[in-house]
């Protein structure tokens, strides 16, 4: 029963991925301008441009090029970068570790903090603590990321001089140095994520708190702490799981702005560089990679939500 549900979700994920690959491939085709022209520059002779177009396969019909490209993806071949002729896979693998490192550090700070603060504001709802966290969360969400980043830089790098303003990590650096280097971008990302998780946790629990079984628990003399953690939380898990995993997905794919600001050598910066250079194979590869991360994390959210619900885990009649 559950296996079937999960298989269905997995199948849907594959279909989504296929559609996304179509969108990624063909939307890049819609970009104005010509790749060969862009590579060779405006002054290049038409014959040279035409020769390059043939060599890159740009003169083939679009569907043929899509099949070649998608076929390559299945074999782990993302093509070569147009800008420097290196395999796209090499470029990605240099960067992907950095992106996941930053995402993981941010997540380790943000997820537990967001959940704990959300639970606390549900327990102390309508009390000063709740009002203060609500206001802080609203601020954290409303201030755009780049502004948060610059405020943090202004305080901790410029004014206090405690932390570096840019995060140019090198492969040779030790783990401790890396932690220090990424502390500001990680803090920037974590602030937003904490705020979202906090608000969602509080709202999800708030919805459950008006249920008759919560009134029943009160009439059994259950303490306010146990009321929230033991009675409300298990029933609010599904939306909370979803918001946590959506935010994890955001940490992987939504880091573009933060990486650029802190000059952090991750996938986001690679994407921005490649767009400006019209390095289409790299842009496409990043698009598919980000989409895959998103789909996998959403899939995980669905599966966990199913497992958290006894009515789905143990359907009636199956006992």
């Amino acid at each position: 029963m559950i296996a079937l549900l999960i298989a269905k979700r997995l199948g849907l994920g594959l279909v989504t991925l296929f559609i996304i690959s179509l969108i990624v491939f063909f939307s890049v085709q819609l970009l104005p301008g010509d790749v060969a022209q862009a590579i060779l520059g405006r002054t290049a002779p038409p014959e040279a441009v035409a020769a390059l177009r043939t060599r890159l396969g740009l003169d083939l019909p679009a569907h043929v090029r899509y099949l070649q490209w998608a076929g390559g993806l299945f074999q782990g071949d993302f093509g070569d970068s147009l800008a420097n002729r290196r395999p796209v896979l090499d470029l990605l693998s240099e960067r992907i570790g950095n992106t996941f490192f930053l995402a993981a550090v941010s997540a380790c700070i943000a997820v537990p903090l967001g959940l704990i603060l959300g639970l606390a504001s549900a327990i102390y709802r309508s009390r000063p603590f709740d009002h203060a966290t609500s206001l802080a969360a609203l601020l954290a969400i409303s201030v755009p990321e780049f502004l948060t980043a610059y405020i943090l830089v202004a305080i901790f790098a410029v004014e206090l001089g405690w932390l570096p303003a840019v995060s140019m990590v090198q492969p040779s650096q030790g783990i401790l140095d890396r932690f220090i280097l990424i502390s500001l971008p990680a803090a920037t990302l974590a602030l937003g994520v904490i705020a979202y998780i906090l608000r969602m946790t509080r709202a999800a629990i708030g919805n459950v708190l008006s249920s008759p079984y919560i009134e029943m628990a009160k009439l059994k003399g259950v303490s306010p702490y146990r009321l929230v953690v033991r009675h409300a939380l298990p029933n609010a898990l599904s939306p909370i799981i979803n918001v946590v995993l959506m935010n994890l997905a955001y940490l992987v794919v939504g880091v573009v702005v933060v990486e650029v600001i802190f000059v952090y050598p991750g996938l986001g910066q690679l994407l921005v560089d490649s767009v400006s250079k019209r390095d289409i194979p790299v842009v496409q590869a990043c698009g598919v990679l980000f989409a895959t991360a998103y789909i996998l994390l959403n899939l995980l959210a669905d599966v966990l939500s199913i497992l958290a619900n006894p009515r789905l885990r143990r359907p009636r009649g199956g006992v």
Binding site: K220, H231, L237, R311
Partner: protein, 549 residues
């Protein structure tokens, strides 16, 4: 006999409510919902609180735990539990009493158990948290109570989740949960209202057994006087938050003093005479249907004549609502045929003609769930007029008012939202919406079950009048025998997806009965304090006779 054993005048007072006032806020205004109510309850005594919805009986029940719902507040009086005033106590001290010395059994166990936790966790929670019993002791005690309450598989039923049990089983588990700390006082808040009559008997006898065994004081809240009469030593009748009358049970039943009390006693005397046969409108032939692998309808056949009423009765799970879903085309039948006005109906509503959809309307049990909370009455009734007849503007407005008058509402209700009307008014709007389509057949799926008895009677009279005026046929689905008596021409008795009996009302409701019909009819509580004793004795007798033979 149990009434004679009890002498309410002796023994210590467990609960003493004096001059209780509770008020509720709507918008910026406070209005009283309980006014100046006093009562005393002694050890081992059961007090019945009787009244319609809005009479304040649940509010008084909750106040006995020192609890007021959100939007309500205590506005004076005292609630003394063994001498301590619950209303002027520190919250922590009050919490320590709840679920330990004072327990509560909620109206609908199905929604009052936490769906995400096993039953055992919830049952033993209050004693284990307080450290009165170890986990193992509490579990053993809970199993013993489950056994006492005749729950199936008492050793393992606690490991199940709420959705895995039936409503009647959950209600008994909740009674076990309340009794586990051996409280001094239990509040039973309509514990059988959501149940079928056959299940109600089991829960009633379980409640009585528990209270008698542990000598607990109890308040039993119900709108059904016949139910309260089986348990209570004394009865208090409430209306609009005030005490109408109070007295010893037998005396109250025999000689009620107040006119309002007498009107409650006289309810449900309305019954229409069976009408002669007429031409056939709906024919259901050998229909079967299932949910996945679960068979819900098994070869069901019935006929309904124009301008007549067929009542479909049975307990929950008997397939009566499934039948409604199949006839309306919301659920596809796996076999059989449905004929309506001489035409065969397509299995799915989507494939039916507009005229067929128009002539077959449905009224649901819950008017709240079937009305859009953001739509005013004008939109609710205007929509089918526009859709089926293309009426707009002043013409449409005129017709809406006409329909409102037919359902005994008026033009002043045009701009009301569902939240601004009472339960009975909302159900009238739903009937009006169905009427707007000028139907030949209305399916009423427990259309009056959620309403108070006086309101129910009004709706049944309205439906009967509309039938006489417009020759509408009703397929009336209900578990309530009094409703059947009031409205049916023919009766179909269903049990486990099959029709077990079918015939004219007077035949089905008169002996000799087939076994299931007999069980169903004998389970309807009677206005006689000895009814439950007699019923249980006769069933016990029947079982032992069977064992002998």
């Amino acid at each position: 006999m149990r009434h004679e054993k009890m002498d309410p005048s002796c023994g210590e007072a467990v609960l003493d409510i004096a001059g209780l006032n509770v008020r509720a806020r709507s918008g910026n205004q406070w209005h009283p919902i309980v006014s100046d109510v006093s009562l005393t309850l002694r050890r081992g005594e059961i007090l019945g609180l009787v009244g319609e919805s809005g009479s304040g009986k649940t509010t008084i029940g909750l106040a006995s735990l020192g609890f007021a719902r959100t939007g309500c507040a205590f506005a004076g009086g005292e609630v003394r539990f063994k001498g301590q005033d619950l209303l002027r106590m520190a919250p922590a001290a009050r919490r320590a009493l709840r679920g330990d010395r004072i327990a509560y059994v909620a109206q609908s166990a199905a929604i009052s158990f936490n769906p995400a936790r096993t039953l055992m966790e919830q049952v033993i929670e209050s004693v284990v948290d307080r450290g009165t019993k170890s986990r193992a002791e509490a579990r053993a005690d809970a199993r013993a109570l489950f056994r006492l309450l005749h729950l199936p598989d008492p050793d393992r039923i606690g490991d199940r989740y709420p959705h895995e049990l039936s409503g009647g089983q959950l209600q008994r588990v909740m009674a076990a949960m309340a009794m586990l700390p051996r409280p001094d006082l239990v509040i039973f808040d309509e514990p059988t209202t959501a149940l079928d009559v056959t299940t109600q008997v089991e829960v009633l006898s379980a409640v009585r057994e528990l209270v008698a065994r542990f000598g607990t004081a109890a308040i039993y809240i119900s709108h059904d006087l016949a139910v309260v009469a089986q348990l209570a030593h004394r009865i208090m009748v409430l209306r609009h938050g005030r005490l109408v009358e109070e007295g010893e049970t037998r005396k109250m039943l025999a000689e009620p003093q107040e006119p309002y009390t007498r009107s409650l006693w006289a309810i449900r005397t309305f019954a229409k005479d069976s009408l002669p046969a007429s031409d056939v409108l709906l024919e259901v032939n050998g229909v079967s249907a299932s949910y996945g692998s679960l068979k819900a309808l098994d070869n069901v056949s019935l006929t309904l004549q124009r301008g007549r009423t067929v009542a479909v009765v049975g307990e929950s799970g008997s397939g009566k609502s499934t039948l409604a879903r199949v006839v309306t085309g919301l659920l596809r039948a796996n076999g059989g045929e449905i004929r309506f006005s001489g035409e065969t109906l397509a299995a799915s509503a989507k494939s039916r003609t507009k005229l067929q959809l128009q002539h077959l309307q449905i009224i649901h049990q819950s008017a709240d769930a079937s009305l859009n909370p953001l739509h005013k009455v004008r939109e609710v009734i205007g929509r089918p007029l526009e859709f089926f007849f293309g009426l707009t503007g002043a013409q449409r407005e005129r017709r809406i008012v006409e329909i409102l008058e037919q359902v005994e509402l008026g033009a002043e209700h045009l701009d009301r939202l569902p939240s601004e009307m009472s339960g009975g008014q909302k159900q009238r709007v739903c009937i009006g919406r169905a009427l707007a389509a000028e139907p030949a057949l209305m399916i009423c799926d427990e259309a009056t079950s959620a309403l108070d008895q006086l309101v129910q009677e009004g709706i049944l009279k309205l439906l009967t009048r509309l039938q006489q005026e417009q020759q509408i046929s009703y397929l009336f689905i209900t578990h309530d025998i009094a409703t059947v008596r009031a409205i049916a021409d023919r009766i179909v008795v269903m049990h486990r997806g099959r029709v077990v009996q079918e015939g004219p009302k007077d035949e089905v409701l008169a002996p000799p009965y087939p076994p299931y019909t007999k069980l169903l009819l004998s389970s309807v509580p009677e206005m006689d304090p000895d009814w439950l004793d007699r019923l249980l004795a006769s069933r016990k007798q029947a079982v032992s006779d069977k064992a002998v033979s």
